[in-house]
Protein backbone atom coordinates (compact mmCIF):
# COMPACT_ATOMS: atom_id res chain seq x y z
CA UNK A 1 0.00 0.00 0.00
CA UNK A 2 1.53 3.34 -0.99
CA UNK A 3 2.83 5.58 1.82
CA UNK A 4 0.96 8.57 0.43
CA UNK A 5 -2.07 8.63 -1.90
CA UNK A 6 -3.27 11.96 -3.26
CA UNK A 7 -6.31 12.14 -5.56
CA UNK A 8 -7.71 15.37 -7.06
CA UNK A 9 -6.22 17.64 -4.35
CA UNK A 10 -7.68 21.18 -4.68
CA UNK A 11 -6.48 24.12 -2.51
CA UNK A 12 -8.10 27.55 -2.98
CA UNK A 13 -7.54 30.94 -1.34
CA UNK A 14 -10.25 33.62 -1.04
CA UNK A 15 -8.64 37.01 -1.82
CA UNK A 16 -10.22 40.42 -2.41
CA UNK A 17 -9.53 40.02 -6.13
CA UNK A 18 -11.34 36.64 -6.27
CA UNK A 19 -10.67 32.96 -5.50
CA UNK A 20 -7.11 31.88 -6.34
CA UNK A 21 -7.00 28.22 -7.37
CA UNK A 22 -3.41 27.56 -6.23
CA UNK A 23 -3.74 23.74 -6.52
CA UNK A 24 -6.39 22.72 -9.05
CA UNK A 25 -6.63 18.90 -9.10
CA UNK A 26 -3.32 17.18 -8.26
CA UNK A 27 -3.06 13.39 -7.99
CA UNK A 28 -0.01 11.28 -7.29
CA UNK A 29 1.16 8.48 -5.04
CA UNK A 30 4.42 8.10 -3.10
CA UNK A 31 5.95 4.77 -2.12
CA UNK A 32 8.06 4.19 0.99
CA UNK A 33 11.71 5.22 0.34
CA UNK A 34 10.88 6.87 -2.98
CA UNK A 35 12.24 10.36 -3.86
CA UNK A 36 9.64 12.39 -5.79
CA UNK A 37 10.57 15.68 -7.42
CA UNK A 38 7.97 18.45 -7.71
CA UNK A 39 9.27 20.84 -10.36
CA UNK A 40 7.72 24.10 -11.56
CA UNK A 41 8.02 27.84 -11.60
CA UNK A 42 6.60 30.23 -8.98
CA UNK A 43 2.83 30.09 -8.81
CA UNK A 44 2.80 26.49 -10.11
CA UNK A 45 1.39 25.28 -6.75
CA UNK A 46 4.28 23.03 -5.74
CA UNK A 47 4.75 24.54 -2.27
CA UNK A 48 0.99 24.83 -1.65
CA UNK A 49 0.66 21.15 -2.44
CA UNK A 50 3.19 20.21 0.26
CA UNK A 51 1.72 22.65 2.80
CA UNK A 52 -1.71 21.14 2.07
CA UNK A 53 -0.38 17.67 2.83
CA UNK A 54 0.81 18.89 6.23
CA UNK A 55 -2.39 20.97 6.58
CA UNK A 56 -0.30 24.03 7.39
CA UNK A 57 -2.64 26.28 5.36
CA UNK A 58 -4.57 28.82 7.43
CA UNK A 59 -8.24 28.03 6.80
CA UNK A 60 -9.74 30.65 6.18
CA UNK A 61 -8.68 32.19 3.80
CA UNK A 62 -7.39 28.85 2.50
CA UNK A 63 -9.59 25.80 1.76
CA UNK A 64 -8.28 22.23 1.16
CA UNK A 65 -10.38 19.60 -0.65
CA UNK A 66 -9.53 16.26 -2.17
CA UNK A 67 -11.18 13.04 -3.28
CA UNK A 68 -8.50 11.12 -1.38
CA UNK A 69 -5.66 12.26 0.87
CA UNK A 70 -4.23 9.33 2.80
CA UNK A 71 -0.82 9.22 4.45
CA UNK A 72 0.39 5.97 6.03
CA UNK A 73 -3.22 4.82 6.41
CA UNK A 74 -4.39 8.10 7.99
CA UNK A 75 -7.05 10.15 6.17
CA UNK A 76 -5.50 13.63 6.38
CA UNK A 77 -8.78 15.37 5.42
CA UNK A 78 -10.73 14.00 8.38
CA UNK A 79 -7.83 13.89 10.84
CA UNK A 80 -8.38 16.03 13.96
CA UNK A 81 -5.97 18.87 14.69
CA UNK A 82 -4.41 16.83 17.49
CA UNK A 83 -3.79 13.87 15.15
CA UNK A 84 -2.29 16.22 12.59
CA UNK A 85 -0.04 17.84 15.17
CA UNK A 86 1.22 14.43 16.31
CA UNK A 87 1.94 13.61 12.64
CA UNK A 88 3.75 16.85 11.91
CA UNK A 89 7.39 16.56 12.92
CA UNK A 90 6.71 12.90 13.80
CA UNK A 91 5.90 10.78 10.76
CA UNK A 92 5.89 13.74 8.37
CA UNK A 93 8.65 16.35 8.53
CA UNK A 94 9.44 19.43 6.49
CA UNK A 95 12.39 21.73 5.85
CA UNK A 96 11.98 25.14 4.29
CA UNK A 97 13.81 27.48 1.94
CA UNK A 98 15.24 30.34 3.99
CA UNK A 99 17.47 28.96 6.76
CA UNK A 100 18.05 32.51 8.03
CA UNK A 101 14.39 32.88 9.07
CA UNK A 102 13.21 29.31 9.72
CA UNK A 103 14.77 29.02 13.18
CA UNK A 104 13.48 31.02 16.15
CA UNK A 105 16.13 33.72 16.74
CA UNK A 106 15.57 33.93 20.49
CA UNK A 107 15.69 30.22 21.33
CA UNK A 108 18.88 28.17 21.46
CA UNK A 109 19.37 25.51 18.81
CA UNK A 110 19.40 22.86 21.54
CA UNK A 111 16.04 24.02 22.83
CA UNK A 112 14.46 23.89 19.34
CA UNK A 113 15.80 20.35 18.94
CA UNK A 114 14.85 18.97 22.34
CA UNK A 115 11.32 20.41 22.23
CA UNK A 116 10.64 18.28 19.13
CA UNK A 117 12.05 15.19 20.82
CA UNK A 118 9.98 15.89 23.94
CA UNK A 119 6.84 16.45 21.86
CA UNK A 120 7.00 13.27 19.83
CA UNK A 121 9.30 10.81 21.61
CA UNK A 122 8.59 11.92 25.19
CA UNK A 123 12.36 12.26 25.67
CA UNK A 124 13.36 14.89 28.14
CA UNK A 125 16.23 16.09 30.22
CA UNK A 126 19.51 14.32 29.59
CA UNK A 127 18.08 11.75 27.18
CA UNK A 128 16.86 14.58 24.95
CA UNK A 129 20.17 16.42 25.22
CA UNK A 130 22.21 13.36 24.33
CA UNK A 131 19.94 12.56 21.37
CA UNK A 132 20.17 16.17 20.23
CA UNK A 133 23.98 16.02 20.27
CA UNK A 134 23.89 12.78 18.26
CA UNK A 135 21.60 14.41 15.72
CA UNK A 136 23.83 17.47 15.33
CA UNK A 137 26.85 15.21 14.82
CA UNK A 138 24.81 13.18 12.33
CA UNK A 139 24.22 16.24 10.18
CA UNK A 140 27.91 17.17 10.38
CA UNK A 141 27.98 20.07 12.84
CA UNK A 142 31.38 20.20 14.59
CA UNK A 143 31.63 20.58 18.43
CA UNK A 144 27.94 19.62 18.68
CA UNK A 145 27.91 19.59 22.50
CA UNK A 146 29.10 23.21 22.77
CA UNK A 147 26.94 24.49 19.89
CA UNK A 148 23.79 23.19 21.63
CA UNK A 149 23.53 26.43 23.63
CA UNK A 150 24.31 28.81 20.74
CA UNK A 151 21.65 30.84 18.98
CA UNK A 152 20.71 30.52 15.30
CA UNK A 153 22.36 33.81 14.30
CA UNK A 154 25.72 32.33 15.38
CA UNK A 155 25.50 29.71 12.57
CA UNK A 156 26.21 30.17 8.84
CA UNK A 157 23.43 29.54 6.29
CA UNK A 158 24.69 26.03 5.57
CA UNK A 159 25.02 25.16 9.25
CA UNK A 160 21.54 26.43 9.96
CA UNK A 161 20.06 24.25 7.21
CA UNK A 162 21.87 21.30 8.80
CA UNK A 163 20.16 22.10 12.09
CA UNK A 164 16.81 22.18 10.26
CA UNK A 165 17.55 18.75 8.82
CA UNK A 166 18.52 17.44 12.28
CA UNK A 167 15.22 18.72 13.66
CA UNK A 168 13.24 17.27 10.75
CA UNK A 169 14.86 13.83 10.91
CA UNK A 170 15.00 13.78 14.76
CA UNK A 171 11.92 11.54 15.09
CA UNK A 172 12.74 9.28 12.19
CA UNK A 173 9.91 10.47 9.89
CA UNK A 174 8.41 8.22 7.18
CA UNK A 175 8.19 11.28 4.80
CA UNK A 176 10.47 14.30 4.49
CA UNK A 177 9.27 17.29 2.41
CA UNK A 178 12.06 19.67 1.34
CA UNK A 179 10.59 22.91 -0.02
CA UNK A 180 13.38 24.65 -2.03
CA UNK A 181 15.66 23.57 0.82
CA UNK A 182 18.92 24.61 -0.90
CA UNK A 183 17.78 27.53 -3.10
CA UNK A 184 19.12 30.15 -0.68
CA UNK A 185 22.50 28.44 -0.33
CA UNK A 186 25.74 28.81 -2.29
CA UNK A 187 26.50 26.12 -4.83
CA UNK A 188 29.24 24.33 -2.83
CA UNK A 189 27.18 24.40 0.37
CA UNK A 190 24.15 23.25 -1.66
CA UNK A 191 26.16 20.24 -2.82
CA UNK A 192 26.99 19.38 0.81
CA UNK A 193 23.36 19.58 1.92
CA UNK A 194 22.03 17.60 -1.05
CA UNK A 195 24.63 14.94 -0.43
CA UNK A 196 23.71 14.84 3.29
CA UNK A 197 19.96 14.54 2.67
CA UNK A 198 20.48 11.85 0.05
CA UNK A 199 22.65 9.78 2.43
CA UNK A 200 20.45 10.18 5.53
CA UNK A 201 17.12 9.49 3.81
CA UNK A 202 18.61 6.43 2.07
CA UNK A 203 19.93 5.09 5.42
CA UNK A 204 16.63 5.84 7.30
CA UNK A 205 14.45 4.69 4.33
CA UNK A 206 12.57 7.99 4.42
CA UNK A 207 10.41 8.92 1.44
CA UNK A 208 11.27 12.42 0.19
CA UNK A 209 9.27 15.00 -1.76
CA UNK A 210 11.86 17.39 -3.14
CA UNK A 211 10.33 20.68 -4.29
CA UNK A 212 12.52 22.81 -6.51
CA UNK A 213 12.60 25.04 -9.59
CA UNK A 214 16.16 23.71 -10.38
CA UNK A 215 15.91 20.94 -13.01
CA UNK A 216 19.58 19.90 -12.47
CA UNK A 217 18.99 19.26 -8.79
CA UNK A 218 15.89 17.16 -9.45
CA UNK A 219 17.69 15.24 -12.22
CA UNK A 220 20.43 14.22 -9.77
CA UNK A 221 18.28 13.47 -6.73
CA UNK A 222 14.89 12.05 -7.64
CA UNK A 223 13.60 8.84 -9.09
CA UNK A 224 10.22 10.26 -10.13
CA UNK A 225 9.25 13.79 -11.23
CA UNK A 226 5.97 15.72 -11.40
CA UNK A 227 6.24 18.81 -13.60
CA UNK A 228 3.67 21.31 -12.29
CA UNK A 229 2.09 24.28 -14.10
CA UNK A 230 -0.83 26.53 -12.97
CA UNK A 231 -1.73 24.35 -10.02
CA UNK A 232 -1.81 21.08 -11.98
CA UNK A 233 0.53 18.26 -12.90
CA UNK A 234 1.51 18.83 -16.52
CA UNK A 235 3.66 15.67 -16.81
CA UNK A 236 4.62 12.81 -14.49
CA UNK A 237 7.07 9.98 -14.93
CA UNK A 238 10.45 8.59 -13.99
CA UNK A 239 13.19 11.19 -14.08
CA UNK A 240 14.62 9.66 -17.28
CA UNK A 241 11.13 9.53 -18.92
CA UNK A 242 10.53 13.25 -18.27
CA UNK A 243 14.04 14.49 -19.17
CA UNK A 244 14.67 12.30 -22.19
CA UNK A 245 11.09 11.88 -23.51
CA UNK A 246 9.40 15.17 -22.52
CA UNK A 247 5.78 14.86 -23.57
CA UNK A 248 4.27 18.23 -22.58
CA UNK A 249 4.79 21.59 -24.30
CA UNK A 250 5.80 23.12 -20.96
CA UNK A 251 8.33 20.39 -20.11
CA UNK A 252 9.92 20.80 -23.53
CA UNK A 253 10.04 24.58 -23.09
CA UNK A 254 11.43 24.30 -19.58
CA UNK A 255 14.26 21.97 -20.56
CA UNK A 256 14.97 24.14 -23.61
CA UNK A 257 15.34 27.40 -21.69
CA UNK A 258 17.48 26.02 -18.85
CA UNK A 259 21.14 26.82 -19.49
CA UNK A 260 23.52 23.86 -19.05
CA UNK A 261 27.06 24.43 -17.78
CA UNK A 262 28.32 21.55 -19.94
CA UNK A 263 26.80 22.82 -23.18
CA UNK A 264 27.74 26.27 -24.37
CA UNK A 265 26.80 28.25 -27.42
CA UNK A 266 23.40 26.64 -28.04
CA UNK A 267 20.86 29.54 -27.76
CA UNK A 268 18.08 29.09 -25.18
CA UNK A 269 14.62 28.33 -26.60
CA UNK A 270 12.30 30.90 -25.09
CA UNK A 271 8.93 30.54 -23.41
CA UNK A 272 7.23 33.88 -24.02
CA UNK A 273 4.81 35.63 -21.62
CA UNK A 274 4.11 34.96 -17.94
CA UNK A 275 2.37 32.22 -15.88
CA UNK A 276 -1.45 32.58 -15.92
CA UNK A 277 -3.52 34.39 -13.33
CA UNK A 278 -4.95 31.59 -11.16
CA UNK A 279 -8.22 33.42 -10.63
CA UNK A 280 -10.01 33.11 -13.94
CA UNK A 281 -11.35 29.59 -14.65
CA UNK A 282 -9.47 27.73 -17.39
CA UNK A 283 -11.32 25.76 -20.07
CA UNK A 284 -8.31 24.88 -22.17
CA UNK A 285 -4.72 23.84 -21.45
CA UNK A 286 -3.33 26.58 -19.14
CA UNK A 287 -0.02 26.61 -21.03
CA UNK A 288 -1.71 27.24 -24.41
CA UNK A 289 -1.03 31.03 -24.61
CA UNK A 290 2.72 30.37 -24.18
CA UNK A 291 3.00 27.01 -26.00
CA UNK A 292 5.27 26.84 -29.09
CA UNK A 293 4.11 23.34 -30.11
CA UNK A 294 0.33 23.76 -29.81
CA UNK A 295 -1.89 21.92 -32.33
CA UNK A 296 -5.58 22.43 -33.31
CA UNK A 297 -6.92 20.06 -30.61
CA UNK A 298 -5.33 22.28 -28.02
CA UNK A 299 -7.67 25.14 -29.03
CA UNK A 300 -10.71 22.92 -28.75
CA UNK A 301 -10.65 20.71 -25.70
CA UNK A 302 -8.91 20.46 -22.39
CA UNK A 303 -6.29 17.70 -22.72
CA UNK A 304 -6.69 14.74 -20.37
CA UNK A 305 -3.81 12.97 -18.69
CA UNK A 306 -2.79 10.43 -21.33
CA UNK A 307 -0.19 7.76 -20.74
CA UNK A 308 2.92 7.81 -22.96
CA UNK A 309 4.30 4.61 -21.46
CA UNK A 310 4.05 2.72 -18.12
CA UNK A 311 4.34 5.24 -15.31
CA UNK A 312 4.81 8.18 -17.74
CA UNK A 313 1.85 10.44 -18.57
CA UNK A 314 1.29 14.06 -19.74
CA UNK A 315 -1.71 16.29 -20.04
CA UNK A 316 -1.01 17.32 -23.66
CA UNK A 317 -2.66 16.71 -27.05
CA UNK A 318 0.51 17.13 -29.12
CA UNK A 319 2.75 14.24 -30.12
CA UNK A 320 6.15 15.50 -29.01
CA UNK A 321 8.16 12.40 -29.87
CA UNK A 322 10.28 14.60 -32.16
CA UNK A 323 11.87 15.93 -29.00
CA UNK A 324 12.52 12.44 -27.60
CA UNK A 325 16.16 11.48 -27.39
CA UNK A 326 17.39 7.99 -28.15
CA UNK A 327 18.57 6.56 -24.82
CA UNK A 328 21.05 8.33 -22.61
CA UNK A 329 22.88 11.44 -23.96
Amino acid sequence: MALLEVENLRTRFATDRGVVRAVDGVSFTLEQGEVLGLVGESGSGKSVTSLSLMRLIREPPGKIEADKLVFDGVDLLKASESTMSSLRGGKMAMIFQDPMRSLNPVLTVGRQLTETLRRHLRLDGDAARRRAIELLEMVGIPLAEKRLNSYPHQFSGGMRQRVMIAIALSCNPRLLIADEATTALDVTIQAQIVDLVKRLTRDLGTAVIWISHDLGLVAGLCNRVNVMYAGRIAETGSVRDVFYRPSHGYTVGLIGCTPRVDRVGAPLTLIEGRPPDLIRPISLCPFLPRCAVAIDACNKTMPAMNTIEAGHAARCHADLSVFHQKGAA
Partner: protein, 316 residues
Protein backbone atom coordinates in the same frame (compact mmCIF):
# COMPACT_ATOMS: atom_id res chain seq x y z
CA UNK B 1 25.92 44.72 23.37
CA UNK B 2 28.22 46.38 25.87
CA UNK B 3 29.78 48.58 23.17
CA UNK B 4 26.33 49.88 22.35
CA UNK B 5 25.53 50.35 26.03
CA UNK B 6 28.76 52.25 26.73
CA UNK B 7 28.11 54.50 23.72
CA UNK B 8 24.67 55.31 25.15
CA UNK B 9 26.13 56.03 28.58
CA UNK B 10 28.77 58.26 27.05
CA UNK B 11 26.03 60.40 25.55
CA UNK B 12 24.36 61.00 28.91
CA UNK B 13 26.58 63.83 30.22
CA UNK B 14 26.31 65.75 26.94
CA UNK B 15 22.54 65.36 26.87
CA UNK B 16 22.30 66.32 30.53
CA UNK B 17 24.20 69.54 29.89
CA UNK B 18 21.87 70.33 27.03
CA UNK B 19 18.86 69.51 29.21
CA UNK B 20 20.03 71.78 32.04
CA UNK B 21 20.74 74.51 29.50
CA UNK B 22 17.27 74.16 27.93
CA UNK B 23 15.55 74.20 31.31
CA UNK B 24 17.54 77.19 32.41
CA UNK B 25 16.87 79.20 29.25
CA UNK B 26 13.14 78.36 29.24
CA UNK B 27 12.81 79.23 32.94
CA UNK B 28 14.95 82.35 32.98
CA UNK B 29 13.39 83.85 29.85
CA UNK B 30 10.33 84.54 31.96
CA UNK B 31 8.58 87.82 32.59
CA UNK B 32 8.06 88.30 36.32
CA UNK B 33 10.46 88.32 39.24
CA UNK B 34 9.88 85.57 41.79
CA UNK B 35 10.88 87.65 44.79
CA UNK B 36 8.49 90.44 43.98
CA UNK B 37 5.76 87.92 43.27
CA UNK B 38 6.46 86.08 46.48
CA UNK B 39 6.57 89.13 48.67
CA UNK B 40 3.37 90.26 47.10
CA UNK B 41 1.52 93.47 47.83
CA UNK B 42 3.12 95.15 50.78
CA UNK B 43 6.79 94.87 49.77
CA UNK B 44 9.34 97.57 50.15
CA UNK B 45 11.79 97.81 47.24
CA UNK B 46 14.84 97.11 49.36
CA UNK B 47 13.20 93.96 50.81
CA UNK B 48 12.99 92.69 47.25
CA UNK B 49 16.62 93.65 46.65
CA UNK B 50 17.85 91.79 49.75
CA UNK B 51 16.19 88.53 48.74
CA UNK B 52 17.26 88.88 45.12
CA UNK B 53 20.85 88.97 46.30
CA UNK B 54 20.33 85.94 48.51
CA UNK B 55 19.02 83.91 45.55
CA UNK B 56 21.67 85.40 43.25
CA UNK B 57 18.93 86.67 40.94
CA UNK B 58 20.69 90.00 40.60
CA UNK B 59 23.64 88.44 38.74
CA UNK B 60 23.80 87.93 34.95
CA UNK B 61 21.96 84.82 33.75
CA UNK B 62 25.08 82.96 32.65
CA UNK B 63 26.69 83.41 36.07
CA UNK B 64 23.51 82.12 37.68
CA UNK B 65 23.67 79.05 35.40
CA UNK B 66 27.24 78.33 36.38
CA UNK B 67 26.38 78.69 40.06
CA UNK B 68 23.45 76.31 39.55
CA UNK B 69 25.64 73.73 37.82
CA UNK B 70 28.27 74.15 40.53
CA UNK B 71 25.70 73.55 43.26
CA UNK B 72 24.27 70.68 41.22
CA UNK B 73 27.58 68.89 41.11
CA UNK B 74 27.77 69.22 44.87
CA UNK B 75 24.34 67.67 45.02
CA UNK B 76 22.73 70.91 46.20
CA UNK B 77 19.58 71.59 44.19
CA UNK B 78 19.09 74.96 45.86
CA UNK B 79 16.20 76.19 47.95
CA UNK B 80 12.58 76.88 47.03
CA UNK B 81 12.05 80.65 47.05
CA UNK B 82 8.40 80.30 48.02
CA UNK B 83 8.57 77.46 50.51
CA UNK B 84 11.95 78.39 51.95
CA UNK B 85 12.74 74.65 51.94
CA UNK B 86 15.62 72.79 50.19
CA UNK B 87 14.49 71.47 46.80
CA UNK B 88 16.00 68.09 47.63
CA UNK B 89 13.68 67.75 50.60
CA UNK B 90 10.65 68.51 48.41
CA UNK B 91 11.95 65.93 45.94
CA UNK B 92 12.35 63.35 48.68
CA UNK B 93 8.72 63.88 49.66
CA UNK B 94 7.23 63.93 46.18
CA UNK B 95 9.33 61.74 43.87
CA UNK B 96 8.46 58.43 45.62
CA UNK B 97 4.77 59.25 45.29
CA UNK B 98 5.05 60.03 41.59
CA UNK B 99 7.11 56.87 41.13
CA UNK B 100 4.52 54.72 42.89
CA UNK B 101 1.73 56.29 40.85
CA UNK B 102 3.68 55.73 37.63
CA UNK B 103 4.31 52.09 38.55
CA UNK B 104 0.64 51.53 39.44
CA UNK B 105 -0.41 53.09 36.13
CA UNK B 106 2.13 50.99 34.20
CA UNK B 107 1.05 47.80 35.97
CA UNK B 108 -2.55 48.54 34.99
CA UNK B 109 -1.47 49.27 31.41
CA UNK B 110 0.58 46.07 31.14
CA UNK B 111 -2.08 43.89 32.76
CA UNK B 112 -4.63 45.16 30.26
CA UNK B 113 -2.57 45.52 27.10
CA UNK B 114 -1.00 42.02 27.07
CA UNK B 115 -4.27 40.08 26.85
CA UNK B 116 -5.87 42.75 24.63
CA UNK B 117 -2.88 42.92 22.28
CA UNK B 118 -2.53 39.15 21.90
CA UNK B 119 -6.25 38.60 21.55
CA UNK B 120 -6.59 41.36 18.92
CA UNK B 121 -3.64 39.89 16.99
CA UNK B 122 -4.99 36.35 17.08
CA UNK B 123 -8.45 37.37 16.00
CA UNK B 124 -7.12 39.88 13.44
CA UNK B 125 -9.71 41.97 11.54
CA UNK B 126 -12.52 40.21 13.38
CA UNK B 127 -15.13 41.85 15.52
CA UNK B 128 -13.05 41.26 18.67
CA UNK B 129 -10.05 42.91 17.06
CA UNK B 130 -12.04 46.04 16.30
CA UNK B 131 -13.49 45.95 19.83
CA UNK B 132 -10.06 45.79 21.47
CA UNK B 133 -8.44 48.42 19.24
CA UNK B 134 -11.57 50.58 19.45
CA UNK B 135 -11.43 50.50 23.26
CA UNK B 136 -7.77 51.40 23.34
CA UNK B 137 -8.09 54.22 20.81
CA UNK B 138 -10.98 55.63 22.89
CA UNK B 139 -8.61 55.54 25.88
CA UNK B 140 -6.12 57.43 23.75
CA UNK B 141 -8.56 60.18 22.87
CA UNK B 142 -10.17 61.10 26.21
CA UNK B 143 -8.31 63.75 28.20
CA UNK B 144 -7.20 61.99 31.38
CA UNK B 145 -8.73 64.52 33.73
CA UNK B 146 -12.16 64.05 32.15
CA UNK B 147 -11.72 60.30 32.58
CA UNK B 148 -10.64 60.91 36.19
CA UNK B 149 -13.78 62.88 36.89
CA UNK B 150 -15.96 60.14 35.47
CA UNK B 151 -14.11 57.45 37.43
CA UNK B 152 -14.55 59.43 40.68
CA UNK B 153 -18.23 59.95 40.00
CA UNK B 154 -18.87 56.29 39.22
CA UNK B 155 -16.47 54.40 41.49
CA UNK B 156 -16.05 56.70 44.45
CA UNK B 157 -19.33 58.54 44.76
CA UNK B 158 -21.92 56.18 43.33
CA UNK B 159 -20.31 52.83 44.16
CA UNK B 160 -18.02 53.99 46.94
CA UNK B 161 -15.43 51.32 46.20
CA UNK B 162 -12.38 53.57 46.19
CA UNK B 163 -11.43 56.73 48.09
CA UNK B 164 -10.93 59.89 46.06
CA UNK B 165 -7.92 61.37 47.83
CA UNK B 166 -5.59 59.82 50.33
CA UNK B 167 -2.27 59.32 48.51
CA UNK B 168 0.55 60.51 50.71
CA UNK B 169 -1.73 60.83 53.74
CA UNK B 170 0.22 60.03 56.90
CA UNK B 171 -2.94 58.49 58.30
CA UNK B 172 -2.71 55.64 55.87
CA UNK B 173 0.87 54.83 56.80
CA UNK B 174 0.35 52.07 59.30
CA UNK B 175 -3.22 51.25 58.33
CA UNK B 176 -2.68 47.97 56.49
CA UNK B 177 -2.68 46.98 52.86
CA UNK B 178 -5.95 48.23 51.44
CA UNK B 179 -5.85 51.80 52.81
CA UNK B 180 -2.36 52.14 51.35
CA UNK B 181 -3.24 50.75 47.94
CA UNK B 182 -6.80 51.89 47.33
CA UNK B 183 -6.07 55.59 46.76
CA UNK B 184 -3.73 54.67 43.89
CA UNK B 185 -6.26 52.67 41.91
CA UNK B 186 -8.41 55.32 40.25
CA UNK B 187 -5.50 57.67 39.48
CA UNK B 188 -3.57 54.71 38.03
CA UNK B 189 -6.48 53.83 35.77
CA UNK B 190 -6.96 57.44 34.67
CA UNK B 191 -3.22 57.84 34.01
CA UNK B 192 -2.63 54.37 32.58
CA UNK B 193 -5.38 54.38 29.95
CA UNK B 194 -3.21 56.26 27.44
CA UNK B 195 -0.37 53.81 27.99
CA UNK B 196 -2.74 50.88 27.56
CA UNK B 197 -3.70 52.22 24.13
CA UNK B 198 -0.07 52.65 23.09
CA UNK B 199 1.04 49.26 24.40
CA UNK B 200 -1.93 47.33 23.02
CA UNK B 201 -1.41 48.74 19.55
CA UNK B 202 2.29 47.96 19.71
CA UNK B 203 1.85 44.39 20.99
CA UNK B 204 -0.89 43.72 18.43
CA UNK B 205 1.28 44.80 15.49
CA UNK B 206 4.40 43.01 16.76
CA UNK B 207 2.39 39.82 17.42
CA UNK B 208 0.90 39.97 13.90
CA UNK B 209 4.37 40.46 12.48
CA UNK B 210 5.86 37.56 14.51
CA UNK B 211 2.99 35.20 13.68
CA UNK B 212 3.75 35.70 9.97
CA UNK B 213 7.40 34.77 10.46
CA UNK B 214 8.80 31.54 8.99
CA UNK B 215 9.96 30.16 12.34
CA UNK B 216 6.38 30.09 13.56
CA UNK B 217 5.48 28.02 10.52
CA UNK B 218 8.43 25.78 11.36
CA UNK B 219 7.19 25.39 14.93
CA UNK B 220 3.79 24.35 13.65
CA UNK B 221 5.44 22.03 11.14
CA UNK B 222 7.22 20.40 14.10
CA UNK B 223 3.79 19.51 15.44
CA UNK B 224 4.12 21.60 18.59
CA UNK B 225 0.74 22.04 20.30
CA UNK B 226 -0.81 25.38 19.36
CA UNK B 227 -0.60 26.98 22.79
CA UNK B 228 3.08 26.21 23.29
CA UNK B 229 3.89 27.39 19.79
CA UNK B 230 2.01 30.56 20.37
CA UNK B 231 3.26 31.32 23.83
CA UNK B 232 6.88 30.34 23.75
CA UNK B 233 7.88 30.95 20.20
CA UNK B 234 5.76 33.94 19.33
CA UNK B 235 5.54 35.83 22.58
CA UNK B 236 9.22 35.64 23.33
CA UNK B 237 9.86 37.54 20.08
CA UNK B 238 6.84 39.83 20.27
CA UNK B 239 7.70 40.90 23.83
CA UNK B 240 11.05 42.46 22.86
CA UNK B 241 9.65 45.71 21.39
CA UNK B 242 6.85 45.60 24.02
CA UNK B 243 9.15 45.55 27.04
CA UNK B 244 11.37 48.21 25.48
CA UNK B 245 8.33 50.45 25.00
CA UNK B 246 7.21 49.82 28.59
CA UNK B 247 10.52 51.20 29.84
CA UNK B 248 10.29 54.27 27.58
CA UNK B 249 6.65 54.92 28.48
CA UNK B 250 7.53 54.63 32.17
CA UNK B 251 9.92 57.54 31.64
CA UNK B 252 7.10 59.60 30.15
CA UNK B 253 4.63 58.70 32.89
CA UNK B 254 6.37 60.84 35.47
CA UNK B 255 6.07 63.93 33.28
CA UNK B 256 2.36 63.78 32.47
CA UNK B 257 0.81 63.37 35.91
CA UNK B 258 0.03 67.05 36.43
CA UNK B 259 -3.69 66.93 35.68
CA UNK B 260 -4.22 63.67 37.57
CA UNK B 261 -2.39 65.06 40.62
CA UNK B 262 -4.67 68.09 40.49
CA UNK B 263 -7.89 66.05 40.44
CA UNK B 264 -6.89 63.42 43.02
CA UNK B 265 -4.94 65.87 45.24
CA UNK B 266 -1.76 63.85 44.89
CA UNK B 267 1.40 65.55 46.23
CA UNK B 268 3.45 64.48 43.20
CA UNK B 269 6.14 66.04 41.06
CA UNK B 270 3.77 67.53 38.48
CA UNK B 271 1.75 69.68 40.89
CA UNK B 272 4.94 70.92 42.53
CA UNK B 273 6.28 72.06 39.15
CA UNK B 274 2.95 73.64 38.24
CA UNK B 275 2.89 75.49 41.56
CA UNK B 276 6.49 76.57 40.99
CA UNK B 277 5.80 77.76 37.42
CA UNK B 278 2.82 79.82 38.59
CA UNK B 279 4.89 81.48 41.33
CA UNK B 280 8.16 81.62 39.27
CA UNK B 281 9.90 79.50 41.91
CA UNK B 282 12.96 78.94 39.64
CA UNK B 283 14.98 76.56 41.83
CA UNK B 284 12.02 74.18 42.12
CA UNK B 285 11.20 74.36 38.38
CA UNK B 286 14.82 73.68 37.51
CA UNK B 287 15.39 70.98 40.10
CA UNK B 288 12.20 69.01 39.45
CA UNK B 289 12.36 69.24 35.65
CA UNK B 290 15.97 68.11 35.74
CA UNK B 291 15.08 65.07 37.84
CA UNK B 292 12.18 64.15 35.53
CA UNK B 293 14.40 64.59 32.46
CA UNK B 294 17.13 62.44 34.04
CA UNK B 295 14.60 59.79 35.00
CA UNK B 296 13.32 59.75 31.42
CA UNK B 297 16.85 59.49 30.04
CA UNK B 298 17.69 56.53 32.24
CA UNK B 299 14.36 54.92 31.40
CA UNK B 300 15.50 55.05 27.77
CA UNK B 301 18.86 53.55 28.60
CA UNK B 302 17.22 50.80 30.65
CA UNK B 303 15.03 50.17 27.60
CA UNK B 304 18.18 49.63 25.53
CA UNK B 305 19.65 47.30 28.14
CA UNK B 306 16.44 45.27 28.27
CA UNK B 307 16.44 45.10 24.49
CA UNK B 308 20.00 43.73 24.63
CA UNK B 309 19.13 41.17 27.29
CA UNK B 310 16.03 39.88 25.52
CA UNK B 311 17.41 39.73 21.98
CA UNK B 312 20.40 37.36 21.76
CA UNK B 313 21.30 38.82 18.37
CA UNK B 314 22.31 42.00 20.17
CA UNK B 315 23.87 40.25 23.13
CA UNK B 316 26.41 38.08 21.28
Amino acid sequence: MNRHFVKRLAQVPLVMILVTLTIFIVVRSTPGDPIQIMLGMQTSPDAVEALRKEFRLDQPVLVQYIYWIGDLLRGDLGRSIRLNVPVSQLLAERFPISLRLASAAMLYAIALSIPLGIFAALKRNSFIDYLCTGFTVAGFSIPNFALAMILIYVFSIQLGWFPITGIGASEAEGAGFWPQISPYILPAVALGTLQTAVLTRLLRSSMIDVLSQDYIRTARAKGLANTTTLLIHALKNAMIPFVTMVAIQFGYLIGIQVTIEYVFAIPGMGSAILQAVVTRDFPVIQGFTLIIATFFLFANIVADVIYGLLDPRVRY
